[in-house]
Symmetry: C2
Subunit: 362 residues, 2 copies
């Protein structure tokens, strides 16, 4: 059970619903873990016939599949208990973050060495020079991401269901990969462009890069598995998009205003790398921008300087703007649940998730 979730579980208004959810969630997660354990056990055994060095890669990939926030695949479960589908989306998440880390040249995630980091550190310890060791790390991560990506469709093909249902599930996975790859590409391009993107461009990129595979597709997969009417599948897609975008904007906020204990990462990172966020895009439209711009992307930004930037991002209204975006998208998500297509049980199951997202910044 993730940190957000525990916090949600103690929240007054939603306490009861979240408590139940937390309990079911813990039970469900252990079943998902069992599916993934089987998947990796089989893979490691198969890998032996290729070579012991290959078994090591699978071990590292396995370590990088557990221990995440596990926010995403949980989505599926609130609508239908398809453990294998959930495990498939968990592996897709692994694939995308492993390759995202290659692209961002990150060697750790939440303070722990990722695939690249594990392979780099092992080489460094063996006396291999850093550039070569880093290259080894990146190479291993490119390969590991491919394996996780293939593993996701593999697991989905094992979901016991009718042909048409399976075809829909595979379509959803395909769409998730297709759109998130597009979001990743656009992210790469935006970060290289001298022109700052608009808020709308940022939101479209974040939706494509993360919201679709983290929220829309898994939620719709749950509905498809439950053989829900098409209107429900559509409504869950809409709900997922709104929650997903809210989630990403929260990430932008926490990346600057969060605390390290909340996020597991330094709150200097986004500023130092000059990450294109809703905060930055909005600030760039204000008169205060000339006092903010010099710090965005300053590789050696100090904590004192970061405090200055934070103050200016508040003063120019960027923080409030982003918080309002979160509220708006959360409200729209709840609006979808109150619409004609979503029954009471589903509404009760999904509404707490909106609260979980909101809790992160309140």
């Amino acid at each position: 059970v993730s940190g957000e979730h525990q916090r949600a579980g103690t929240h007054d208004r939603q306490g009861r619903v979240d408590g139940d959810l937390a309990e079911r969630e813990a039970r469900d997660q252990s079943r998902v873990d069992a599916v993934l354990d089987d998947f990796f056990r089989l893979a490691k055994r198969r890998a032996e016939s290729v070579g012991y060095r290959y078994v090591d890669l699978w071990k590292v990939l396995e370590r990088n599949t557990s221990g995440g926030k596990r926010f995403r695949p949980r989505m599926v479960f609130t609508t239908y208990t398809a453990v294998t589908t959930r495990a498939a989306f968990e592996l897709l998440h692994t694939a995308l973050i492993v390759h995202d880390d290659v692209i961002d040249r990150d060697f750790s995630r939440r303070g722990i060495p990722n695939v690249s980091g594990s392979y780099r550190d092992e080489a460094t310890t063996a006396g291999i020079p850093t550039p070569t060791a880093e290259h080894r790390g990146m190479s291993a991560a490119v390969i590991a991401g491919d394996l996780a990506l293939t593993g996701a469709s593999r697991l989905l093909l094992q979901v016991p269901c009718d042909g048409p249902v399976q075809a829909r599930l595979l379509d959803l996975l395909d769409e998730a990969v297709f759109v998130s790859a597009g979001g990743e590409m656009i992210d790469v391009e935006l970060s290289l462009s001298d022109d700052l993107p608009t808020v709308d461009e940022i939101l479209a990129m974040e939706r494509a890069k993360t919201a679709v595979y983290s929220f829309e597709a898994p939620l719709q997969a749950g509905a498809v598995l439950a053989e829900a009417p098409e209107a429900v599948v559509r409504a869950l897609g809409e709900f997922g998009r709104e929650v997903g975008v809210a989630y990403q904007v929260v990430d932008d906020l926490l990346g600057v205003f969060g605390t390290q204990s909340d996020t597991g990462k330094t709150t200097l990172g986004d500023l130092r790398e000059g990450k294109r966020t809703v905060l930055v895009a909005h600030a760039a439209t204000t008169d205060d921008w000339f006092g903010i711009r010099p710090f965005i992307g300053k590789a050696d930004l100090s904590e004192a300087e970061a405090e200055v930037v934070r103050g200016r991002l508040e003063a120019c209204g960027a923080r409030r703007f982003a918080e309002q975006l979160v509220e708006d998208h959360a409200a729209r998500a709840l609006g979808v649940l109150d619409g004609p297509d979503v029954g009471e049980a589903l509404r009760d199951a999904l509404a707490p998730l909106v609260q979980v997202v909101l809790e992160r910044v309140r």
Copy 2:
């Protein structure tokens, strides 16, 4: 039709069979191209809704899918004309070489910019500094490879066939990805190790990295589609392995002794990068090694020095050893065709392929 193929078509002994093969091959390839055209047309249209920058990535990926040697997927066709299956293996090939180029930090393939190269060059032209431009190229290639990998299973899912046949096809694709990823990982590790690998280690790596997805799996896919008996599927796997290993050893030979017009790449590359090949592994077991070693991996190796190395690789018997390996594996491949499980029609269709491989070094 590839260069090798045209050469084979003019070979005396096999002239007639190869001529027919070449004709059928040209017709079949145009049908495969039509499937891939449809695939990319649809992808580019879908990509528009994500963003125009994403459409560009698909265009570059499409360019990198056509124009290859197309040796691999042709395999499927000699046993069964399943255009879509063949297109799927062609996309798998694209995915693996695109990511292999990322790992090797190559920006071109056969003298033409690959995905990384196209994206790098465009950025360089726009005035972006080389390291940033190269990083853009690598990022685009990581994403493009993921799309081609997903596209391969996507195409395979569209093959019109019965459920059990489709399940077998997907298993073959999965096995191909699994084993080639292992081969790639082992290649990375061997190239970092100070200890030179043995000939057997090189052969096992080359088999895993290339022979399985290029020969074994597509040939078996053809047999599965034709609903051939299990013994035939097994025999084609064995045949594919022998031909595939022979093909890789030929690659090792051409990488040092070939001519640029034959291979489309400089014959200094393998020596300069210190590639672990059968030639090097064998030379290292001889007394002449001390005179060869200084040149292996010498980044600024001259053509004159290369001539010295070539002479020494011949003198120590490494060239003859590798050529003998090719002959041995080719003979074993033909032996499988002469075995009890392969009928006459299949033997006539496949035997010329062994000749094609042998022709490359004769």
